[in-house]
């Protein structure tokens, strides 16, 4: 991190100086991409993600590799439960990076995403320093000590490798996108009372979206785009084997086939990988060793969440009336 004092602002010089000294940085240091590339090849991505328990499709591995190489944020879009969040976590783990997560929701704002002043502490400080001049007090209460950094600022300030996960971006309001765009363009954040914070080391940024809302073209253009859909059968079998190793091979195969058939049915909510894994766990717990009508009928609620989906699926799978 490097803090540029805001010209004519309230930033007290010794604050920025001490910060800069502590970080042993020159004022003219220009942020540059991480020294050693994160991954050496696409295969390297797959292999190392797999070690953490994340099985990447070729598309996922290729895009993650490129995001590292081109230094661009990665926008991951796809239905719920296909492993978008998990992917960011896995990347952080293999990169030995800390994970900073901004969870978006309706109404998330600057004070939740960027920073906030710790008003309570400021008040205490004001009432404690009654003998000081107001100027002194004011300078002091708008210093580092009273700043509450939120995920975006935290991610930019760090000196260590960082994965910044901006999760479920589509849930945030449109205004939030403007802010994200600014941060993702310059990797700097201006705190008016303090100065401008510039990343010395750009975080690896992953944005996710369930496409609940169309993200702006401008934001999309800043990013590499990755759509994660439902996995191919082979990959899904591997995921089930990895997550539920106790389930027999034949049953694993049947589970994946049935889920595939359900996805082709045009349901209100098609089952995702998360549901496949849940179902596999359930079957293991039930001690089932093959799929039959009773087992499927009794556990359909684990995979399908809407009553009318359950009915439709039961009809199409020729289960006896529920």
């Amino acid at each position: 991190m490097y803090i540029t004092p805001r010209p004519g602002g309230l930033g007290r010089n010794h604050v920025t100086e001490s910060v800069n000294k502590r970080l042993d940085r020159r004022p003219d240091t220009v942020p540059d991409p991480p020294e050693a590339p994160l991954f050496t090849s696409v295969d390297d991505v797959s292999a190392r993600l797999a070690e953490t328990g994340y099985l990447a499709s070729p598309a996922v591995a290729t895009t993650v590799f490129l995001a590292g190489r081109l230094g661009k944020p990665l926008l991951v879009e796809g239905p719920a439960g296909v492993g978008k969040t998990e992917l960011a976590k896995a990347v952080a783990q293999v990169a030995g990076a800390r994970l900073v997560r901004l969870q978006c929701y309706e109404g998330v704002d600057e004070s939740r995403a960027l920073y906030e002043w710790n008003h309570a502490k400021q008040l205490l400080r004001i009432s404690a320093g009654r003998d000081e001049s107001w100027d002194e007090t004011r300078t002091d209460i708008f210093s580092e000590e009273f700043l509450l950094p939120r995920p975006l600022l935290t991610a930019i300030r760090g000196d260590e490798p960082t994965v910044l996960l901006i999760d479920e971006t589509d849930k945030a309001d449109v205004e939030m996108e403007g802010l994200l765009l600014e941060v993702l363009s310059d990797f700097q954040i201006t705190v008016p009372e303090l100065g401008t914070v510039t990343a010395t080391r750009r975080p690896f940024v992953v944005l996710t979206s369930n496409a609940g809302r169309e993200l702006s073209e401008a934001l999309r253009r800043r990013c590499l785009f990755l759509h994660i859909g439902f996995p191919e059968e082979e990959l899904e079998r591997r995921i089930v084997r990895l997550k539920v190793p106790g389930l027999g091979a034949a049953l694993t195969e049947s589970v994946v086939r049935v889920v595939g058939a359900l996805r082709a049915m045009d349901l209100r909510k098609a089952p995702s990988v998360a549901e496949t894994v849940d179902w596999a766990h359930t079957l293991l717990a039930l001690g089932a060793d093959t799929l039959d009508e009773t087992v499927v009928r009794d556990s359909l609620g684990v995979i399908l969440k809407h009553q009318d989906d359950i009915q439709k699926a039961a009809a199409k799978l020729d289960l006896d009336a529920l």
Partner: protein, 450 residues
């Protein structure tokens, strides 16, 4: 590398011609991606180019076939082996049973090479996927593949076995697509890649003409309803915010300025009354335009919470309210038109559309549905089968409504030809050409009241 650069340029040009917006920044990223990935693995290249050039999932359907032309799996035809149809079918059945995609792709190439060529000598004029598939008839392999798989797995005791037929159908469908890709590649070698990439690749579903969309495309369109509705809802919300921000409320501005000694520091903006508009839809659901009407009805249903009230009427030569059939939980998109036809009274003596009678019935029976807050959309080609267009009924509806729009799925050039009463109706209601889902989305975003 220049050859590769040329290909990327060609690929980008073709994608742009299909409406994918690609800036120079993305092209530069694409070139860097190619450099980082190398050219040895075609599938990695595909993913890398898609990641850098595309911005949304809908574009992928256009990207893949275009990519296949600019970065083909192979060049030229195959050596040796003449076309032995039966041998090819045997090998295809085997590959389908094993779900061996690499083998299927190879067989697609062999099939196009051996059976797809036409002209004075085979292939001299081009290659046809249609001809290849007509001769090979992969769909007739279903029973054989099923028996093959069952024999292999030993019996069909497992529950998942009942899914087998559908699974095999999907594999056959995948093979048919491979044949399409291969035929396009071979034609492109002969006639120039750029031209085929622009004309031989199917447009994205949202650019398909409603009047010519096939069953598959209509099904794909129906799946696109929810995403399109979400996109429109976002845009409408933005428009609503803009409208709400609107004007300065002088009285409140002055009142709030009391705290600053009467100096108006912050203008207070007038809040618009949060009354949502009412919508009435009149849909021609007769054969020729039913794809268009279905799609629009589903879209409006998906947008229902943008309105305080939505009422939908369907007609052929009689008119009936179908709002209830679109209700929540009942909107099974595939069965919609069948249900409307089964449950509503839409035809009288004959089965062809009669705008005059239907509109008259609306003006007579349901005119109370229309008030000063109502926006009315009429959907249809305005082809009256030579009967009286009943302009008086439209005039009456227009008089009562806030606005009346007419969306016509026919190209503007055809309005007024033959039995089309489009120009007469267009005098009374603002008429727009609406041939594709893309146009519909743009129109709705623009015309819907907020």
């Amino acid at each position: 590398m220049t050859e590769v650069a040329d290909r990327i340029t060609g690929l980008v040009g073709a994608l742009r011609a299909h409406g994918v917006r690609i800036g120079t920044g993305e092209s530069v990223d694409a070139a860097r991606a190619v450099e980082a990935l190398g050219l040895t693995d075609r599938e990695l290249l595909r993913e890398g180019l898609a990641a850098t050039l595309l911005h949304g999932p809908g574009q992928r359907a256009v990207f893949d076939p275009v990519f296949d032309l600019y970065f083909p799996r192979a060049v030229g035809g195959l050596e040796g082996s003449g076309p032995d149809r039966d041998a090819l079918r045997d090998r295809l059945a085997e590959a389908l049973a094993a779900d061996d995609q690499a083998m299927m792709a190879r067989l697609a190439a062999e099939a196009v090479d051996g059976m797809g060529g036409y002209g004075s000598s085979p292939g001299s004029d081009g290659f046809s996927a249609y001809q290849t598939l007509e001769r090979l008839r992969p769909q007739t392999l279903l029973a054989r593949v099923r028996a093959d798989v069952r024999g292999r797995d030993g019996g069909g005791a497992d529950f998942a076995d009942r899914l087998l037929d559908d699974e095999i159908r999907r594999r056959i469908e995948a093979f048919r697509r491979m044949v399409g890709t291969e035929a396009r590649r071979r034609v492109a070698e002969r006639r120039g890649r750029d031209e085929i990439a622009r004309r031989g690749v199917l447009p994205t579903a949202d650019r398909v003409d409603f009047l010519f969309a096939g069953r598959d495309q209509l099904a794909e369109l129906r799946r696109a309803v929810q995403p399109l509705a979400r996109k429109l809802a976002t845009r409408l919300a933005a428009r609503r915010r803009r409208a709400a921000r609107g004007t300065v409320d002088l009285r409140r501005t002055l009142r709030s300025s009391l705290s600053t000694g009467g100096v108006p520091m912050r203008p207070v903006l007038r809040r618009r009354r949060p009354v949502r508009p009412e919508l009435v839809l009149l849909c021609d659901v007769s054969g020729s335009v039913s794809g268009f009407s279905d799609f629009t009805m589903l879209l409006v249903q998906a947008l229902h919470d943008q309105f305080s009230k939505v009422r939908v009427f369907a007609f052929v030569n009689r008119l009936d309210e179908v709002t209830g059939l679109l209700g929540h939980g009942r909107a099974d998109p595939d069965g919609l038109s069948a249900r409307i036809r089964a449950e509503a009274t839409l035809t009288g003596w004959h089965g062809s559309s009669d705008y005059g009678v239907a509109l008259g019935e609306f003006a007579e029976r349901y005119v109370d549905a229309v008030g000063p807050r109502t926006t009315v959309f009429v959907l249809g080609d305005a082809r009256t089968n030579m009967s009286d267009p009943n302009l008086a009924a439209v005039r009456e509806v227009a008089r009562r409504a806030r606005r009346v729009y007419w969306l016509n799925p026919e190209p503007r050039a055809q309005w007024g030809t033959g039995d089309s009463a489009a120009p007469a109706y267009a005098d009374l209601a603002e008429m727009h050409e609406c041939r594709t889902a893309r146009q519909l989305g743009a129109l709705i975003a623009r015309l819907l009241p907020v």
